[in-house]
Structure formats: C-alpha cells, structure tokens
C-alpha cells in the first residue's frame, strides 16, 4: 500500500507555514534535518507538562515516570534497529558524538601507532576528523575506499586495502551528498574476514531504510534522532555488548558510576557507563515517539515513496540544460539530488529558490573531500522524505529555470 502523503503532511504543521514573501514552504532539506510530526512535538510537550523530573535515583512519582519514559524509548529504539538488547543502545548527542565515542573509547584502547583505519572518500566530516585527530595523537594510518565517477564505492580497491589488515573499517551506510546506499552487509562481511572491527555511520540510513544491525553484523552503528522525525540533541551509538563491556568509559560524572570514593570509581554497567550527567530526557521521549511514528507508517512504505519521488526528481532535473547531477541512478540511492547549475554558484541557486519558499541546501554539505574529488567547491542539494511530493519537485524545477533566466 502506498503512502497517503496528504494525510502524512497533516502531521507536520511546519509544512503549512508561509515564508517571508507569502509562499508556502517547500522543504527539500530533510537530509540536513527532518521536520517533526505533531506526535513527536506533543510527546515532548506532554513530558514537560506532566512528567518532568531527573531520572534514575529518584523514588518519587515523577522521577519514576520520567525514568520509565527515558528507558522505554531506549527499548523502542533497540527494537527499531533490531539490537539484541537495549543495553546496546547508548544515548549520545548525535551521530558525530557517537563516532567520537568510538574514537575516544574503543580506538584509544585498541589502536596503536601504525594501525590502519579504513574510511571512504564519501565520508561526512564527522567520520573523518575524529580519525585525523587520532592520527595526530597516536600515529594511526588512514586509507580510503575510492569513490567511482558514478558515485559508488570501488569494492575491488577495498579488497586490496583489506590485505593490509586494518583494525577498523568505518563507512557511511548512505552518502549525505550522493545519496549512494552502500552495500553495508558486504562491506562488513569483508572487513570481518580481514579481522577488522566495523563502525557504520547510519545518520542517513536509519531515517530512510529498514536497518537490522544484527543482520548486518555491524559492530558499531551511529545515528541521530533529528534526521528521523525526532528532536535535535539526541543520537545513538549501537555497539555489540561484548565490545561495549570491554571499553573504558568516555565521559566521567554522575550516572555512569556504580560507586565513587574520593580517589577512585567503579563504572556502571551498560548502557549507563557511557551516559554521564543528566541526559536529554525529553529528547529521548521524543525520539521514542519518532520511532513509533515511523514504525506505524512502515519503513518499507517510506522507502518506496522516497524512491518514487527521487526517480521523478532525477528525471526532471536531468532535463534542465546546464544541470549536472552527482551520484548513482535512483535504484542505488536514497532521496538526495545533489547538482550544479552551469555558470551559477550553488549559493545563488539556493538563495533564488528561497524567494519562492523552496528550501534546499548549498555548500559542501560537510563532505569537502568528496567535492574535491569531483572537482567542484560546492553543490546544491535537494532531499526528500516521507512528506515530499511530486508537486514540490515541479516547483523546484520551475525555480531552477527562474535562476537560469536571472543569470542567463
């Protein structure tokens, strides 16, 4: 059954608002952050109106309720990605912090000078810079799975890299620029055969695809709530409990301890070991509501809808003279269309589209090395989600013709 997009759009009050010049907003920037449905907004609102308290040690009614909601959300998230246990779901601030947690805790305990970490040329800065920092500190080595001209990973080159016995392979499940959906299970399987641990950046995949961390056999998997209809300020690091149990704590403070003396502490058990200090409780509640929302609609249906919109958008954009699209064909990618328009800088494209209420992103999308690879400083990027429509794609196309006229 296909999605009833009109019904879905009613859940997102922001999609009804007007922009500065009276045009209704056409939100094509969900890859940066998704909009939030009423179900999520109300859940967070209700939490603050009724149940707000600090979690864990409190014994009063509100603390009990808040704790149950915070931990209940963790259970929902664990089921959503099919983790073996909710102990394996560590709340963080976002995907970036999740990757940093692995870099600070697991990598600093397990990697030494000369050890190889394999990344890819299509990584977001969040999966590059933590490793640059570790390289400077530890002298680890970095190498990169190349991206082919049509925007997919070169798995033959990857096979060659694996012969150098990397300790860690860390890659994005879905590119935030090219939209490429990487063959995660295959990449992970190959890494494991070479004896490497695998971290997956799932910031773009969990919102749009059915992700089963056990079927993938991922060792670590990182994602954020705000790209999947949830609030900003909360993300998750999934890790296999055998790995998480062996890792030293990351941040120290309250809640991550079992016992503290003046001169020593004993770390708490999972998942609390990695959650120092008062966490984002309302955000966890919102995250749980977002997972419920997506689950009720069904990830397969969402993916099918996005595929239909993306295919249509790529076809229509390709027709425009001067437009160059980046990334693979629609069957290999998620709902992202990054493009350049000949003779016009992406900022100018985005700014002129904004005059018609059309929100697209312009720049290097935190993937500067990938843009360098394609020899361009920046792209404009339109991205789609469950609430996107073909009419919005048509508006985008009309808008691009307007840009061409202005610069013609």
């Amino acid at each position: 059954m296909t999605l009833n997009v009109n019904e879905i759009r009613n859940d997102f009050p922001i999609l009804d608002r007007e922009t500065a010049n009276g045009r209704r907003v056409i939100y094509l920037d969900s890859t940066a952050t998704s909009q939030k449905p009423l179900q999520v907004i109300e859940a967070m609102n209700e939490y603050y109106r009724r149940s707000n308290a600090n979690i864990h040690r409190g014994v009063h009614t509100l603390a009990e309720e808040a704790t149950a909601m915070y931990e209940g959300a963790r259970e929902k998230i664990a089921k959503f990605i099919n983790a073996a246990s909710s102990r394996e779901i560590i709340y963080t601030r976002n995907t970036t912090e999740s990757i940093n947690l692995v870099a600070y805790s697991w990598a600093r305990a397990n990697l030494k000078a000369g050890d190889l970490v394999i990344l890819t040329e299509m990584e977001h800065h969040s999966n590059l810079v933590p490793w640059h920092m570790l390289q400077a500190e530890r002298g680890i080595e970095l190498d990169f799975i190349p991206v082919t001209d049509d925007g997919v990973l070169d798995l033959e080159a990857y096979r060659t890299l694996l012969a150098r016995t990397p300790k860690l392979v860390s890659f994005t499940h879905m590119s935030n620029v090219l939209g490429t959906i990487n063959p995660a299970a295959e990449i992970i399987g190959m890494a494991h055969s070479a004896g490497a641990i695998v971290l997956v950046d799932g910031a773009q995949s969990v919102p749009h695809l059915t992700v089963d961390v056990q079927a993938l056999d991922a060792d670590f998997y990182a994602f954020s709530a705000h790209k999947m209809c949830g609030p900003t300020g909360i993300g998750v690091l999934y890790g296999k409990s055998v790995l998480l149990d062996a890792m030293p704590p990351f941040l120290g403070g309250g809640d991550m301890i079992k016992e503290v003396n003046l001169r020593s502490f004993r770390a708490n058990s999972l998942p609390h070991k990695f959650e120092a200090g008062t966490p984002a409780i309302a955000e966890a509640v919102g995250f749980g509501a977002a997972v419920d929302y997506l689950k009720n609609i069904g990830m397969e249906r969402i993916a099918a809808h996005e595929h239909e919109i993306t295919e249509y958008a790529l076809d229509r954009l390709e027709e425009i003279p001067g437009v160059k699209l980046f990334g693979p064909s629609a069957d290999k990618k998620g709902g992202v269309a990054a493009f350049t328009l000949e003779g016009v800088h992406p900022h100018d494209v985005a700014q002129i589209l904004d005059q018609d209420g059309i929100a697209v992103r312009a720049g290097h999308h935190c993937a500067q090395p990938l843009h360098e690879k394609f020899g361009i400083p920046a792209t404009s990027r339109a991205s789609f989600y469950l609430y996107s429509t073909k009419e919005e794609v048509d508006m985008l196309v009309n808008g691009i013709y307007k840009v061409k006229k202005m610069f013609g």
Binding site: V344, P346, H347, D348, Q351, Q355, A362, H364, P377, F407
Partner: protein, 131 residues
C-alpha cells in the same frame, strides 16, 4: 529580496573588470570561506607613497562574493594603504547597495577580510578585520 540580485551584482559577477592576477605584485594574499569553500586571492601593486595603483582578485564563489570582490578592487585603486585599512563592513554594503542576512554577509565580506589581512601582513583573514 530580488534586490539581492540587482543588475549591478549580476553584471560584476558575469563580467568582472578586475579579475585576474598581478605579476609582479607588492601584496598578495588568499583565504577561504570555511562555510562554503569560496576562495579569494587578491594581488595589489602599491607605489612608493603607499598608494594602490592596481588591484586584482581571483578565485571562485557565489555572485555576492565575486561581485563584492570586483567592486572592492575597483574602489581601492588610487587609495592609500592607510585608507584601505580603515574600510569596514558598511563600506562593502554601500558598494553592493543591498542589505544581507548573516549567512550571505560572510560571502560579501570575504574579499575585504582577505584584502585587509594582506595589507596588514597577517597569517589569516579573521572577522576582527571587518570592524
């Protein structure tokens, strides 16, 4: 809003009068806008009295950044380096004849930052140079 793409801006973007490099030059400096990867290099020729006798910019960026660089080069020829040091944000906005939000302001001001860092002989173009 359409003002942002006034004809003068589009014209200076498409047909800049001061794009290029100067060889030899007395001052040359380049920097990026880290937010969008825009890049501007500025070359100056200065005579013995400290007067700018030629100025060129090179690089890539949006219409706002390129047009403001071109207008800025045009405006400083004949000025003394002391006068160049006094240029600020408002001077650029006056040259462009538009108002800009915080994001696009960075595009417009990149050339001024690069110019002043070059004139002061600094290692990088910082926002402090805009006041």
């Amino acid at each position: 809003m359409d003002d942002l793409y006034r004809e003068v801006i589009i014209e200076h973007y498409k047909n800049p009068s001061h794009r290029g490099k100067l060889d030899p030059h007395d001052i040359s400096f380049a920097d990026n806008n880290p937010l969008c990867g825009d890049h501007i290099q500025i070359d100056l020729r200065v005579d013995a009295s400290g007067e700018v006798i030629d100025a060129r910019f090179d690089g890539h960026g949006c219409a706002i950044s390129q047009a403001s660089a071109d207008l800025l080069m045009e405006s400083i020829i004949g000025k003394s380096l002391e006068e160049v040091k006094k240029l600020n944000k408002q001077d650029i906005l006056d040259l462009l004849g538009i108002d800009l939000g915080p994001v696009r302001l960075k595009c417009a001001l990149l050339s001024l930052k690069v110019l002043k860092a070059g004139v002061y002989g600094l290692g990088e173009a910082s926002d402090d140079l805009l006041e």
